[in-house]
Symmetry: C2
Subunit: 141 residues, 2 copies
Amino acid sequence: MTGTPRTDTGRLMELLSVSLGAYYGDFTLAAASENLTASQGKALTVLRRGPAAMRSLADTLTCDASNMTGIIDRLEKRGLVRREPSPSDRRVKNVVLTAEGERVTDAIRARMSATREGLERLSAQDRDTLHSLLERVFVSQ
Amino acid sequence: MTGTPRTDTGRLMELLSVSLGAYYGDFTLAAASENLTASQGKALTVLRRGPAAMRSLADTLTCDASNMTGIIDRLEKRGLVRREPSPSDRRVKNVVLTAEGERVTDAIRARMSATREGLERLSAQDRDTLHSLLERVFVSQ
DNA sequence: TATTGTTATACTCTATAACTATA
DNA sequence: TATAGTTATAGAGTATAACAATA
């Protein structure tokens, strides 16, 4: 962007920390607007991609399996998810979003206006570049 | 990066969610290696830039002021920070990192190897580009 | 024997409300 | 009156350890 590279890894990590804080704050606020905690919102977001076993959920959210019990308990009590026995392994319970759960999850994403507006300040090509860079840093190994 | 833009805002937000999740996981693990919670690590990171009043800390970490009391209590008990009375306003307490607090904070950052290695896969120019894009999305308004 | 999910426990985080000491 | 920080409280997240059911 400039002729002189001015971004050492330390400064970039600092900015990443600030960016994460902004994103996470936006997400937490959006979840709170549906009376959900950030952890509950994260679980719903993961389940929006499809059903998952308790253990798999815990792995994805990088928390202990015992935590998932309470989180899913509270979401189930509100009718946002339900537990279903796995047909192939009777130890396993699959967690599935209900229709109301899908609605709430989509509402959370729609409410993340700060992040959305930030992204929409970029041109289509810059969004493409950001996508590619993030993928190289955080996804590919 | 390609001639055809393929990155709509929704997909980019999804990738952002995954990327920041990876960063947060890396940070949480690094903090845990120093026997600190993520919130404690975040507070130290903010204080690494310089002293801050309790209220200002709560604002930066977007949590209620009453939470800071407990978080700073625990950090102070471990000798990582200390409270100092403000010279200009006797209601205010400034929180300052101790030398040990600085050491621990730097150790956390040094431990974030997954993120660091991800960033170091980029050329200096690509790091510059990523810096500029993140700043435009999350910092400038 | 190993794994899945749950329970019990203890500690931490979080917001709300009420309090004090300042301003 | 308003603000900075603390305390009390209750609900939620978190890891550890132990357990029953199943593989």
